[in-house]
């Protein structure tokens, strides 16, 4: 289980206390060295997806070149190699999140599938007509729609906890919404559209005082800040591999075993059974009960490599450096005439949504793109939130630890070009 034969796990040359050497880390990402339209790429769309370090690309290549076989059917050498690598990655993720056991880590396609799994397996089994599910006004569609589907299926009701004009959750209102009918709470750790960091530990405590299980959508938090599940004490946690410098199509659902044990399988198929007859099937133990079919083995191994990579740099130094970028970018962007930042929470991750004078976000995006700067323009899969702020769309710059202050200066220059085109 813990034999680490993988060459992908080299020891970092950086010590944790060294100043954050962004130039050094940038070299780990081959894509960052390229030019677009003849200009050096400035990639500021990290909340959508992150770039991949060479160790992740190598891990995928090594798996396909040297280890490819199906797992948990280990009668031959390659299958054992692949199974070991797959199981190692689960332990890597368990340690990364401080989960109690590897079997509490379920590999899924991404945060979206993790939420769907919980809503369909837990929700359909334990919720009934009249029950309430509480989310917040700043959720991504992936933490709204699965619950709406569940509500249609069960007759449960979806309630939304409001936010203030800075994009902060109104904690008192949240607490008021918790009532005897509330049977599930599902909240974003960090808003993908506003950058707000929610006080999830407090919110989880409030829900637990009323014996309500809580899911935390960690899609934006796991890649950018240290997450300790023992400290948070949430019952479920999801994140996506591709936002954590890993491959697309792989993600993680963490669930406390006391919940996962009593939940029925989400999908049926191979690997999730222990015995099948045409009359009855015995389900496999955790985590395999929830991993029907041949999983995305390469993706899991690539995710393991990505987790090892960020863990070596350290999430605390990453968070501190990204806060520096956030502070710098907020200051520089505020100086651009006509620019309004949407989402000014006191506790914020390195995501900045903004509108520029009366220029539509798409026009901002196209002009910045011509300057080699990649940002997101649109509703960020959070249409109810855009409505809350009375904007059809925003431009969004989201940073990762490989971004630099020089890149923020390029963004600001690009915005001046936008203004030049439109005046």
């Amino acid at each position: 289980m813990n034999s680490s034969k993988r060459s992908g796990t080299v020891i970092s040359k950086q010590s944790a206390r060294a100043p954050f050497d962004v130039a050094h880390y940038r070299k780990d990402f081959p894509i960052l060295a390229q030019k677009v339209y003849g200009k050096p790429l400035v990639y500021l769309d990290n909340a959508a997806t992150t770039q991949k370090p060479q160790v992740v690309i190598d891990a995928l290549e090594q798996y396909y070149a040297k280890e490819n076989a199906n797992i948990h059917r280990g009668i031959h050498y390659l299958s054992q190699q692949a199974t070991d690598a797959y199981d190692d990655a689960r332990v890597t993720v368990q340690k990364f999140l401080s989960a109690r056991k590897p079997s509490e880590i379920i590999f899924v396609r991404g945060a979206t599938e993790g939420i769907n799994l919980v809503s369909q397996s837990y929700g359909r089994t334990f919720l009934k007509a009249g029950d309430e599910i509480l989310i917040t006004a700043m959720e991504h569609h992936s933490n709204i729609v699965p619950w709406q589907i569940l509500c249609e299926q069960t007759g449960a009701k979806l309630r939304t906890s409001p936010i203030n004009d800075d994009g902060e959750l109104l904690v008192n209102e949240f607490e008021k919404l918790l009532n005897p009918k509330t049977k599930f709470v599902s909240i974003a750790h960090i808003s993908n559209a506003l950058g707000t960091i929610n006080p999830v530990k407090r919110l989880i405590q409030m829900a637990h005082e009323r014996r309500i299980p809580v899911l935390i959508d960690g899609a934006q938090s796991a890649p950018h800040m240290a997450v300790d599940l023992q400290d948070l004490d949430c019952d479920f946690f999801v994140f996506s591999g591709h936002k954590l410098f890993g491959p697309t199509g792989i993600g993680v659902l963490y669930g406390k075993s006391e919940y996962l044990e009593k939940m029925p399988p989400y999908q049926g198929g191979g690997d999730m059974i222990s015995a099948v007859t045409f009359e009855k099937t015995l389900y496999n133990k955790l985590p395999f009960k929830f991993e029907a079919g041949t999983p995305h083995i390469a993706g899991v191994i690539g995710l393991g490599a990505a987790v090892n990579y960020v863990a070596r740099i350290g999430l605390d130094p990453i968070f501190a450096y990204e806060q520096e970028l956030l502070e710098y970018a907020t200051r520089k962007l505020s100086e651009v005439s006509g620019l309004r930042i949407i989402g000014e929470a006191k506790e914020k991750a390195s995501i900045i949504s903004f509108v520029l004078a009366d220029v539509h976000a798409h026009d901002v995006g196209t002009i910045l793109d011509q300057e080699g700067i990649a940002i997101r323009a649109g509703h960020h899969c959070a249409m109810p939130l855009m409505e809350r702020f009375g904007v059809p769309a925003t431009a969004r710059a989201s940073f990762a630890f490989y971004n630099t202050k020089e890149e923020i200066d390029r963004l600001v220059d690009g915005l001046h070009t936008v203004l030049e085109v439109f005046t």
Binding site: H360, H362, D363
Partner: protein, 153 residues
């Protein structure tokens, strides 16, 4: 520095129409309406048409969107007003050919007139939908299917 591609895309006429869209109003006497929506960016348009004896007698629109989609809607309304439904359809097909940007598809610039100002959009594939949203909505309005047109159908 503004690149030549950007200058091609955001031509003066386009910027001017996006800032001061023509026929930007609810048409009281409309006998055909249609709504267009681009779910990817949230651009919305509502089109009001007064069609009489197979001609677009009057036209107005409301909505929100980027400069390209607003200017396209504005210039479309200006160019189809007074035209017959079949002339309007020909115009749309020429407009569409121009935006597809394929060298093999020749479009008739004389038929398009001022609308050829949008030819630069063909260099920006992700923005073609912005320029055609109003036209797809117009087509639906003339056929009066009453359904919301989406760019992602």
């Amino acid at each position: 520095m503004i690149s030549s591609e950007l200058r091609e895309l955001y031509q003066e006429l386009i910027l001017e129409h996006s800032k001061k869209p023509r026929n930007f109003r609810v048409l009281e006497g409309a006998n055909h309406t249609a709504e267009g929506f681009n779910p990817l960016c949230g651009d919305k348009i509502k089109l009001y048409l007064e069609i009489e004896d197979g001609r677009v007698k009057d036209i107005g629109f409301q909505g929100s969107g980027c400069a390209i989609s607003k200017a396209s809607a504005s210039m479309m309304t200006a160019s189809v007003k007074g035209k017959s439904v079949s002339e309007t359809q020909t115009l749309f097909s020429e407009f569409h050919k121009m935006l597809s940007g394929k060298e093999s598809t020749e479009f008739d610039e004389t038929k398009l007139g001022k609308l050829s100002v949008f030819s630069g959009v063909s260099e920006f594939p992700v923005r073609v939908k912005c320029a055609t949203l109003a036209w797809h909505t117009l087509k639906a309005g003339m056929e009066s299917s009453g359904k919301t047109v989406t760019t992602e159908a």
